[in-house]
Symmetry: C2
Subunit: 311 residues, 2 copies
């Protein structure tokens, strides 16, 4: 029995960790957004993949919410003294991974292979799969002009007013054979959409035509967890972005966004009344994930929903 | 009044620091070997240039004899955990410099410009000049086959028996305009050959035809400091290499190696009797440089020798 989860960064990785702990070793295949990937200081950085690696590898920094535990910052301090860019903070341990990846990609290795080897090194018994080995770059049109994703997200802290989002290269990108195999595996029992930002983190996956088609042609339930609690995002700019895009930040809007794709939506108990009016099955539970137990319990709840749908 | 010094790595940088402190600000132009430069972990590493930067910038590590003071080693520790190469140790602060340089070189900047900017950042009031912006790679033929320089020098600790040395690309390389200008500057008063390894560290400079010609056509004295004390090298493999190349490790052999190029040789007092028989002027003093005072005093001695030759 295998489960595919689709995830972006930190928020999605929380549920992914719950699923990883809830499922037998090797059962989880996590397909991860690479639209945030970029070249910085000459290094190839893959924020969402690294968050998945660090989170499932039990290396993440709970204080920062990103990066690694027990990190040191010498490289960044010296980079600052040299007049280099420091708005995207790279710890020394994190840098080792970027240096390793950049070198292997330049040598011609697939991103998928590099991430698989890193996952193996970190003792992760799940497949962490880049959505594509091709380059897809999320770009946002704002009231200050078009910005590369990390310029908008990290450097400008999502302050510019967002007008539109596009995924440069997505129309020509292909899902990796590993992604296709995970979605067509006869042992597949469920697909879970993690509570990542639908617009910035999940849409890049759906913008790859073959990946979207594979999801639509699935033979197993696809259940999404809403990233909203009481119309606010737990963390990050989801609600702000929805407002700027003229969408009300509600479970209904999330369901509408994923219409035709998801079989059911899991919402927080505070949104249960709203969700009851939706045209698809909904389930409600407490969705705030503060502790590892929260993540495990919520993952088990998601899997229970899938079983109800499968009956 | 300006002085040009030619230098390789650690041994040469000691005298270079003495000259830097002995001369007025801005008077020293240090032309540095780049034959040791190599790509490692996808980063461009320039060991001799960096030794010059760290030494003149008062950032060097006196304990290690290479790299920076107050260094941390997180990047290397994680690189090891990823199965990456760790035989060439890169500290986190050092890595910041390599990342910065690699990014600028990839963007098309000249190595000379990058080093000039780093020297400025480090507050160095001397010109630190790569011998060339072209690629020259020192390669050594050994009883174990031909090795890239750092493979031989660092990874194999000079253990393979050396048979020959070549400087790949030197015949096509050109000295930089900055190097040419330093050597043709009307204010130039002396050229000092630092006590670097003649075969591995100084010969790469001399292998560049235009650079050798410019040195030979100088109008100012060129004085070398012997790297040997009592027929042994102070540090490093000079004596071992001389033995393997079938050359006796003596002041006479150093003088013969630089025949036609140097006007005088400075040797240690223990080698004064040997040196007295040489066909060029020789001067003797204590040449072991343990303290900063040793370096300053020896630099002043070298400059005094130049003045005696100029009279």
């Amino acid at each position: 029995m295998t489960v595919v989860a689709l995830s972006g960064g930190v928020g999605g990785a929380k549920l992914a960790l719950g699923l990883y702990r809830a499922l037998p070793a090797g059962a989880l295949r996590l397909i991860v957004n690479t639209g945030d990937d970029f070249d910085h200081l000459g290094l190839r950085i893959c924020p969402d993949l690294d968050t998945a690696l660090y989170t499932l590898g039990d290396l993440e920094s709970p204080e920062q919410g990103w990066g690694r535990r027990d990190e040191t910052w010498t490289m960044m301090r010296v980079t600052q003294s040299l007049g280099g860019e420091t708005w995207f903070r790279l710890g020394d341990a994190d840098t080792a991974l970027h240096v390793y990846r950049t070198q292997r990609l330049r040598a011609g290795d697939r991103l998928t292979s590099v991430i698989a080897d890193l996952a193996h090194r970190f003792g992760v018994e799940a497949a962490i799969l880049p959505m594509t080995d091709d380059q897809v770059a999320t770009r946002v049109a704002t009231d200050e002009g078009e910005l590369a994703f990390q310029e908008y997200f990290v450097r400008r802290r999502c302050e510019p007013v967002l007008q539109a989002i596009r995924f440069d290269g997505a129309d020509r990108a292909r899902p990796t054979p590993d992604v296709v195999a995970a979605l067509s595996d006869p042992a597949l029992e469920a697909i879970v959409l993690c509570p990542s930002n639908p617009y910035l983190s999940i849409d890049p996956l759906l913008a790859i035509p073959e990946l979207r088609a594979a999801l639509e042609q699935r033979r197993v339930p696809l259940v999404a967890l809403s990233p909203l609690i009481g119309r606010a995002a737990v963390k990050g700019p989801t609600a702000k972005i929805m407002a700027e895009l003229g969408v009300e930040s509600s479970a209904a809007a999330i369901a509408a966004h994923y219409a035709g794709l998801i079989d059911a939506l899991v919402v927080d108990t505070v949104d249960a009344a709203d969700a009851a009016r939706l045209p698809i099955p909904t389930f409600s539970t407490q969705t705030l994930m503060k502790t590892l137990d929260d993540r495990l319990r919520l993952a088990q709840f998601m899997l229970a929903c899938v079983r109800k749908l499968s009956r």
